[in-house]
């Protein structure tokens, strides 16, 4: 059985910010709006700023792995820079972590909610509570540690919060707050009395006291970069009386410790409201009498302690004599009404801070906008996945099941083909499958088999591989996975030039005011197209071997299927390499990491025209009919310019090159030579703060902002982007990378150190946020791994995925290669990005999500099975022949049982996790919704389990 402690959680978030509407800010002439995405309070990314509109269109997509625990995702909408003032938040979208899954890659309009200090909360605190009853001995309540009662209390706590949220609208005033409180209480008491669940607690608690200690706080939010926290402890009694005590201010820390004890009576006399027996330093106790006692049910002999709340404030310094204020940082409310609630409390536990009065967030995203708050609405698409991934060996059965089917006939009975039929979104299936088969070095085989099957059903040659089928989707993924560096090497320089020069290239007369410019524009455009086209056709031999194998196989299949068609040998390859690879990359360079900066309208149009022309040339090569027809009239001249014999011949040569298989790895020397000549591939770049190792100055004195670039050759940094690097470290020098904990000597967050060979002191680097930090560290770790391997073996590269990255030999014991060459960037990149265990887990989740459908397919027969899913018709087609059908059913049976077993592993793992985790511990503070989700999920798992068996 798997060791559950080895389970890891992989969280990924993709957020597309579409557009905003009806923003409530300055008028449209001066507005300049941008959005930021934040995990808790930490900004992760931001959109470009859109000016002069209250309905800005962003169309920006962000995707990243989540490196740490977080509680909520916020998307803030900002209005930028009003005359040197700080940017003003217009509003935000606020989603709890456990609610993210609901938005499952669908677009929603979110009403913006106000951004105010009351809801901007983060951090947790450890609270000690001791009760002392009237007889004078301490009652420790931890003996009463019943997990279930705690759980329900957590839920009640949440419920209560929500309840209040709905009651309190736009009003933070204390008396109103109390009013509602009392009102709730009133009900609460009455009902509890009626049910008689609370025994006569008043008598027993008459003279008791409770002592509260706020031991320490962690990760409080910083306000304008500062945090000078103090705490206010408030005891609320059933008659609305509030007793307030406060601590001293702790300076310059967001992890303060307050150890002063605060004591409160468990009951107060109604008349005696000034009880203040606590005299600690400067701590003060104040009493608020909020309301006439109209709601109190015990007007005569006093009231009971109802709740203790701890509120954290940031004390703002005094300016020019004006008094300093305070900013809300967070609040913990601990209900203590009666014995039962008191007994359920832990004497020492961690709590999450909660917002003071979270505004009702309206419907949490609706298909259509509803202007409920009047701050505006934002259209957002969110795809969040959290995978619990086990060690690779756990998935052995699933892996075998996926692999075994593809070499047997028919492919329609294989698990891969069945998956392709049952999962609605082909991209979702194709992504993990391609990565897995690439890892297993079987990608060419599986795509060939699937393509043969698809072609056997195709009659119309013109739409060859045009549909969104499993084959075309898998080819897309394979080209992206294995061909990204090839794409970058081929197109990056020319795309960069085009973006920088920003020449006008519009040749549509309907879109140009000054018709005289068209000639000049035409010349510009033709020049660009020529540059791009030449870059592509000269790149043939740089095309990665795997892709060449794939193109070769597809061409093979197509020629066999349509032997009398002379065009198909080109059209089949061009429909992938041009239509699905180069043309989309030119059109949307940001999507393929070819450009980072936002494109202006002119550049976008230029790229669109180039992309169209390139695609047309690619298509023209394969289907030259005598009369060339141009759909858009104005493109006629341009296409005529390029559809000449020389261009056609060179394009044909290129298509031939990329579909020629160079004999296995014998040709690898050639490859290696190439890779040592080709420029280093850029892996990552960005601004970071660094401190050089040689410095003798004390910590924190000379951190500098630098522009870092990590390529397959070196790590370098320069004073700014585009400047000459001031430091260039070969990556072979990098021997270690280490994350520094947040409580490091430098008192800085998101900081790590890079250890360099033969140097005593490391290089300290600080990133802008946790996501950046993870991405840099992940890359650097892979480099270190590779470097380490280089030293322990004769090979210069590492043995990854069944071959050496240096020489490609497939036998691990083969003698080392002596060439001193850089990594083959392509293989290097694969090694850094593949994660087979994660991909297998994704596939398991897909099977599991469709388990009921699979069972129906298994049980029912016939030619095809129809079913309804998310309001769309879906169908499964069985193989025709009887023995094939039997095979197909057998595969389905195996899929179900493998998924069943894996699910059991998940359930057991969750159970053992739940047993280990204690609510109230530092890891699972009280108020942690994830814990509740986990436990409820587990119940879900268990109940589903019983339904499964065939």
């Amino acid at each position: 059985m798997a060791d559950y402690s080895l389970e890891r959680i992989e969280e990924q978030l993709k957020v597309k910010i579409g557009e905003a509407k009806d923003l409530l800010t300055r008028n449209s002439n001066t507005a300049a709006v941008y959005c930021t995405i934040a995990l808790d309070q930490e900004e992760i990314c931001r959109t470009p700023t859109i000016e002069r509109t209250l309905a800005p269109f962003f169309g920006e997509e962000f995707e990243f792995k989540i490196p740490r625990k977080f509680r909520h995702l916020s998307i803030y909408v900002w209005d930028r820079d009003r005359h040197l003032k700080p940017d003003k938040p217009i509003g935000k979208v606020f989603i709890k972590q456990q609610e993210l899954q609901k938005y499952n890659n669908k677009e929603f309009w979110f009403s913006l909610i106000p951004v105010d200090a009351d809801s901007e909360v983060q951090g947790k605190a450890r609270v000690q509570i001791t009760f002392e009853d009237g007889l004078g001995y301490l009652k420790r309540s931890e003996e009463y540690d019943d997990r279930r009662s705690l759980e329900t209390r957590c839920i009640q706590n949440d419920y209560k919060e929500n309840n209040e949220t709905t009651n309190i609208r736009n009003n933070h005033q204390l008396h109103n707050h109390n009013h509602n409180h009392n009102h709730n209480l009133h009900h609460h008491k009455l009902s509890s009395k009626r049910r008689n669940t609370t025994p006569d607690f008043r008598k027993t608690d008459t003279h008791g006291r409770v002592t509260v200690r706020l031991m320490e706080c962690l990760d409080l939010a910083k306000k304008n970069g500062a945090c000078n926290p103090f705490a206010q402890i408030t005891a609320t009694y059933t008659n609305g009386v509030k007793l307030v005590q406060r601590t001293k201010v702790r300076k310059k820390t967001n992890n303060p410790k307050f150890t002063e004890p605060f004591s409160f009576d468990l009951t107060v006399n109604n008349n005696n409201t000034t009880t203040s027996t606590n005299n600690i330093d400067s701590s003060t106790t104040t009493t608020t009498h909020s309301q006439p006692n109209a709601y109190s049910i015990y007007p005569i002999d006093g009231a009971d302690l109802n709740e203790i709340s701890l509120t954290l404030w940031h004390s703002t310094p005094t300016f020019n004599g004006s008094g300093g204020g305070k900013v809300f940082l967070g609040e913990i409310r601990i209900p203590m009404l009666g014995r039962q609630q008191q007994a359920a409390l832990k004497s020492d536990a961690w709590y999450y801070f909660k917002p003071r009065s979270l505004q009702e967030s309206g419907p949490p995203g609706t298909p259509f906008s509803c202007p409920s708050h009047g701050l505006g609405t934002l259209r957002v698409k969110i795809a969040y996945t959290a995978l619990h991934v086990f060690p690779l060996a756990t998935y052995d059965n699933l892996m075998d099941l996926l692999m075994e089917g593809i070499e047997q006939k028919p492919i329609t009975a294989s698990a891969v083909h069945i998956l392709g039929q049952i999962v609605a979104n082909k991209t979702d299936v194709a992504h993990p499958l391609v990565r897995l088969f690439t890892h297993k070095k079987m990608i060419a085989t599986v795509i060939k088999q699937l393509a043969e099957q698809e072609l056997s059903e195709l009659n119309d040659l013109t739409t060859i591989f045009r549909g969104n089928t499993l084959v075309s989707k898998m080819m897309d993924e394979a080209m992206r996975l294995s061909g990204l560096h090839y794409l970058h090497n081929t197109l990056r320089p020319v795309i960069k030039t085009i973006i920088q020069e920003n020449k006008s290239c519009e040749i549509d007369p309907a879109k140009v005011n000054n018709k005289n410019l068209i000639n000049a524009n035409f010349f510009n455009l033709a020049d660009y197209v020529k540059q791009v086209f030449e870059a592509i056709i000269n790149s043939g031999w740089n095309c990665p071997p795997i892709l060449r194998q794939l193109f070769h196989d597809l061409r093979d299949c197509a020629v066999k299927r349509f032997p009398y068609n002379s065009e198909v040998r080109y059209s089949v390859v061009s429909s992938f390499i041009f239509l699905r690879f180069f043309a989309p990359a030119i059109l949307g360079p940001k999507l393929f990491d070819l450009a980072n900066e936002p494109l202006d309208e002119n550049t976008a149009r230029t790229l669109k025209l180039i992309s169209k022309t390139i695609q047309s040339i690619g298509n023209f090569v394969s289907s030259r009919s005598s009369n060339q027809f141009n759909k858009e009239e104005f493109t006629g001249e341009l296409y005529k310019h390029f559809c000449k014999e020389t261009y056609v011949e060179s394009a044909k040569k290129f298509l031939d090159e990329i579909s020629t298989v160079t004999d296995g790895f014998n040709n690898n020397n050639n490859n290696n030579n190439n890779s040592s000549i080709t420029p280093a591939v850029l892996l990552k770049e960005g601004m970071m703060t660094k401190k050089r190792a040689q410095s003798r100055k004390p910590f924190g004195s000379n951190f500098k902002q630098r522009f870092f670039q990590l390529s397959t050759n070196s790590l370098s940094y320069a004073k700014a982007k585009g400047k000459r690097p001031t430091c260039d470290i070969p990556i072979t020098e990098i021997v270690g990378v280490e994350r520094l904990s947040n409580n490091n000597d430098l008192k800085m967050q998101n900081i790590f150190q890079i250890i360099l060979r033969d140097r005593d002191r490391p290089l300290y680097v600080q990133t802008q946020n946790c996501v950046e930090e993870k991405e840099w560290i992940d890359l650097l770790e892979k480099i270190c791994e590779n470097n380490k391997e280089r030293h322990t073996m004769d090979h210069l590269g590492a043995f990854v995925n069944g071959h050496y990255t240096c020489c490609g030999r497939m036998d691990e014991a083969s003698e080392g290669c002596s060439q001193v060459v850089a990594y083959n960037p392509y293989q290097w990149e694969l090694a850094t990005t593949l994660d087979p265990a994660k991909d297998l887990e994704r596939i398991h989740q897909m099977i599991w999500a469709n388990i009921e459908t699979l069972k129906r397919i298994y049980h029912e027969g016939g030619e095809r099975l129809h079913w309804q899913q998310d309001s769309s018709h879906r169908s499964f087609i069985y193989p025709n022949l009887m023995n094939e059908k039997t095979k197909c059913r057998k595969t389905i049976f195996n899929m179900i049982s493998v998924a069943d077993n894996l699910n059991e592993v998940h359930t057991k793992c969750n159970q053992s996790l739940l047993q280990k985790l204690m609510p109230g511990s530092k890891e699972i503070p009280i108020g942690d919704d994830n814990y509740l989700q986990l436990s409820s999920m587990n119940r879900g798992f268990a109940s589903k389990r019983t339904v499964v068996g065939i």
Binding site: E19, F57, P367, T463, R580, G588, L591, S611, S871
Partner: protein, 184 residues
């Protein structure tokens, strides 16, 4: 003259360009050339009124869908095309329509559902009744067409113009108001 922004959508190879070019230039494109994005302008008379149609012919290839958002935002009427000879092209339309509604932020969007290639009756996979019921569900007009045989091609665009007119009648008053403002 009023301008109408029309967007033609659908999977790869269903005949979006063939329909559009047949309508604009009265030619059937024999050669298959996957579109990235083409735009056309054509002046027509619908119900005695001169209209300028601006037709955006889009990519069926999913690689280019990043731009969908923008043209859905700008478009006023939408032609959803599938091929009666390919079931998957029919299934793909559900998501497209949903995306249009969300981007437009309303249930009521001028739209025509089109089953193309109706000349290829012998290769038919998607029955006419299926098309009709989907149109019912979409609450939009339905027609089967053939760009090759020139069946129902013009009707698609005329119907869409009428739908747009019905939904948002031309506002002449607004222009008057504007001129008043400049006077002030």
């Amino acid at each position: 003259m009023r301008e109408y922004k029309i967007v033609v959508l659908g999977s790869g190879g269903v005949g979006k360009s063939a329909l559009t070019v047949q309508f604009v230039q009265c030619i059937f494109v024999e050669k298959y050339d996957p579109t990235i994005e083409d735009s056309y302008r054509k002046q027509v008379e619908v119900d005695g009124q001169q209209c300028m149609l601006e037709i955006l012919d889009t990519a069926g290839t999913e690689q280019f869908t990043a731009m969908r958002d923008l043209y859905m935002k700008n478009g006023q009427g939408f032609v959803l095309v599938y091929s009666i000879t390919a079931q998957s092209t029919f299934n793909d339309l559900q998501d497209l329509r949903e995306q249009i509604l969300r981007v437009k932020d309303t249930e009521d969007v001028p739209m025509v559902l089109v089953g193309n290639k109706c000349d290829l009756e012998e290769e038919r996979v998607v029955g006419k009744d299926l098309g009709k019921s989907l149109a019912n569900q979409f609450n939009c007009t339905f027609m089967e067409t053939s760009a090759k045989a020139k069946i129902n091609v013009n009707d698609i665009f005329y119907d869409l113009v009428r739908q747009i007119n019905k939904k948002s009648p031309e506002k002449k008053q607004k222009q008057k108001k504007k001129s008043l403002c400049t006077l002030l």
